[in-house]
Symmetry: C2
Subunit: 421 residues, 2 copies
């Protein structure tokens, strides 16, 4: 096998541990100097490849690369940019191969969710047809936890931990205040189509009756009457009510509770947000209870200060495995997390074919939601609990976490052609 450069890019919404994957990948690549020359990172995901905007990771010292393991966000820049079908925009794929050829890139590592795995798969197809063989490995990442074949998606466990802890802490706050002040608290969390993140809020409860008293899932059609009755019941029984609401919760006809559904991103997804104000207004108007709400938004997926150790370890492991797959001659595959044992929780790395992974969404099993539609079952708890185990605190200086600052040295361009994205 000839020595080649590797391309690595981060795609889609970032997480608190995607840089741990970058760390695992770069550190492992450096252990194969006979096979892998430099790792070039795409600046802003695949856009970096299309525009020949590459970052030379070999310019970063090993301490900086190691610090990526505890740094949130996407260090090399990510993107919401979906490559079109081969048929409708073959030029994009040809451009990728052109850039890879110019920079002697023999390995293509693409770190993202479903859309990104689709891109990785397409690159593997075109390279074959164009006579420029390149090893394509997809690397899983998404807080949405909706990739198939993998037991969990790196990024999800840390959001789950953040949401569970935040729910528990805010619940203690409102419990203190409910006698003479706020009686209802809503935590709005991410989750377009699947309620994985909202479900994690359920881990805040240690025993029956503990908050959260209601969880709203995209999987369960919103029933206003049942919802208000349940809120009222919680306030009457406990003095207060804590709700974890998924941004994607919808009416029976499929329309979102949230009003702000007008912005559409490059993947064609609607930008959600704003279910909490709608619900609190409903509660105020019908039940008269004083309320507060929090919208955790980017905080939930950036909160590296409280990431799950299991999640960090798995994020690192898929980056490491991606390189090991590549140098062992595997192609068009994605490392996945396998749950080998439930108690004690044990996991290992497996693999899935990109052709099967692409564009599939794994929904939450129906038996994860309680019959009344407002809670999680023991099955859900059994699945979720291992994913939030352990704390992996970043180092601190002067009271603040110390996150990696990269030099971001660009790779000298070799092509004289511009490419418009």
């Amino acid at each position: 096998m000839a020595k080649k450069n590797a391309f690595y890019a981060q795609s889609g919404g970032v997480t608190s541990v995607i840089n741990a994957t970058a760390c695992g990948l770069i550190e492992t690549a450096r252990r194969y100097p006979d096979l892998i020359n430099n790792v070039y990172a795409g600046h802003n995901g695949i856009i970096g490849a299309l525009t020949e905007d590459l970052i030379d990771t070999s310019a970063e010292d090993s301490a900086t690369i190691a610090a990526l393991k505890h740094t949130p966000g996407g260090a090399f820049g990510s993107c919401r940019y979906k490559l079109k079908d081969l048929e409708s925009n073959r030029a994009e794929y040809e451009r990728l191969i052109e850039v890879f050829q110019a920079h002697d890139i023999g390995y293509f590592f693409y770190n993202g969710g479903g859309d990104s795995q689709d891109t990785a798969y397409k690159v593997s197809q075109i390279s074959e047809k164009m006579g420029y063989p390149i090893t394509c490995i997809g690397i899983p990442k998404t807080i949405d936890n909706d990739l198939p074949f993998t037991d969990a998606c790196p990024g999800f466990g840390s959001v789950a931990k953040y949401v569970a802890i935040s729910t528990k802490e805010a619940a203690l706050d409102i419990q203190s205040m409910c006698k003479s002040s706020t009686k209802v608290f809503i935590l709005e969390v991410m989750g377009r189509h699947a309620g994985w993140i909202a479900a994690a809020g359920g881990l805040a409860a240690e025993k029956a009756g503990d908050p959260p008293h209601l969880i709203l899932f995209p999987e369960t059609a919103f029933d206003e009457t049942k919802f208000l009755a349940k809120v009222d019941e919680a306030v009457k029984q406990h003095g207060y009510c804590v709700i974890v609401a998924s941004e994607g919760t919808s009416h029976a006809d499929g329309s979102l509770i949230s009003a702000s559904t007008t912005v559409v991103d490059a993947f064609g997804h609607q930008q959600l947000g704003g279910i909490a104000p709608v619900l609190t207004k409903l509660i105020k108007d019908n039940l008269g209870y004083k309320y507060h709400y929090a919208v955790s938004d980017y905080l939930q997926r950036a909160a590296r200060h409280i990431s799950s150790k299991v999640d960090v370890d798995q994020a690192y492991a898929v980056g490491k495995a991606a390189v090991e797959f590549a140098v062992n001659g595997k192609n068009a595959v994605m490392p996945v997390i396998q749950r080998d044992s439930q108690a004690p929780y044990q996991w290992s790395i497996g693999e899935a074919c990109l052709s099967q992974v692409a564009n599939q969404e794994k929904m939450m099993p129906a038996d994860f939601i309680t019959e009344d539609g407002f809670g999680i079952t023991q099955a859900a708890r059994d699945y979720l609990e291992p994913l939030i185990q352990g704390e992996d605190y970043p180092p601190y200086k002067d009271g603040m976490p110390v996150y990696a600052r990269l030099k971001m040295v660009p790779v000298a361009k070799k092509l004289n052609t511009d490419f418009k994205v």
Copy 2:
């Protein structure tokens, strides 16, 4: 000095460290068994005293009391209930003395902000006039950091740390995404009249140009034109813009940016919230940038998982000092934090008279805000940095923090009279 029981209550919005104060107070009281019999906690603040709803803290073992030090919220329940003036509702004060007399209470410890210190002061006055001498000690607590005479208010340092870290983490997220997606991020934080909390967001910046690019303070009149120009400049210069916005930010005429100003709490304060959606709409309509926003709400003041060690230590120390003041014959005073040295940061406990503390609000010094009104100065940084030092992580089990669960044993009632609050 005859042996007496002590009354302790938590008042106003709770914090992630008010229970550390309770811990300091109860642990210290237990060291003076010759002077202090039991500590009775008011259930839901002063309401517990008025309704003879007392909790016997002697029923809690020492491990549970110790665990209060790392438990957010107000363990005994807090309240938003302001005692009226002596003249307009003397009956309330007489009722307090009646309950204290019935339970042989000789020490009154009241843990809260400005309104609560006013209550403590009034109780000290009436007790004198009614011939029922009771030692009254106020204990500072407020995330608003607006109590006079104390260098900082227990509760503030932890919110400051949470907001600074959250700003830094979310900024790394948006920086990753800005090339092809979100360009503006707003973090909405608490702060009715003073921008202390918003200012803490400025600690996220390590050097010039670092996010946050704008901070909106209640102290600075909102200028739409200047604001939009500054946002646009940040996006053009850095590719993205991070804003920390205080909920209390107002127009030049004093009206709030936030629209939701209709709810009024028992202290007569308007319930704020909702500045972020107003600002993002402004940005979207005028500059067209894609945005995200988070509303940290109760999460910021409940986030015990990332409390400042300095804040926890100071919260514990004021609880301890309150008891030591009382057993040493002091009355109608409040322990305060004194900054003895800036570098290295050193502090000690001092005292202030309740007569002077009551109903004063300490505003942020004008020289803490940069000339353009959108940032913090070195003076602000010098003041704030020591307050967020150190991490005081709670213990974890199965991935979740272990917070105290109290038995909450009620003290048997001795009065046959109901009191309506």
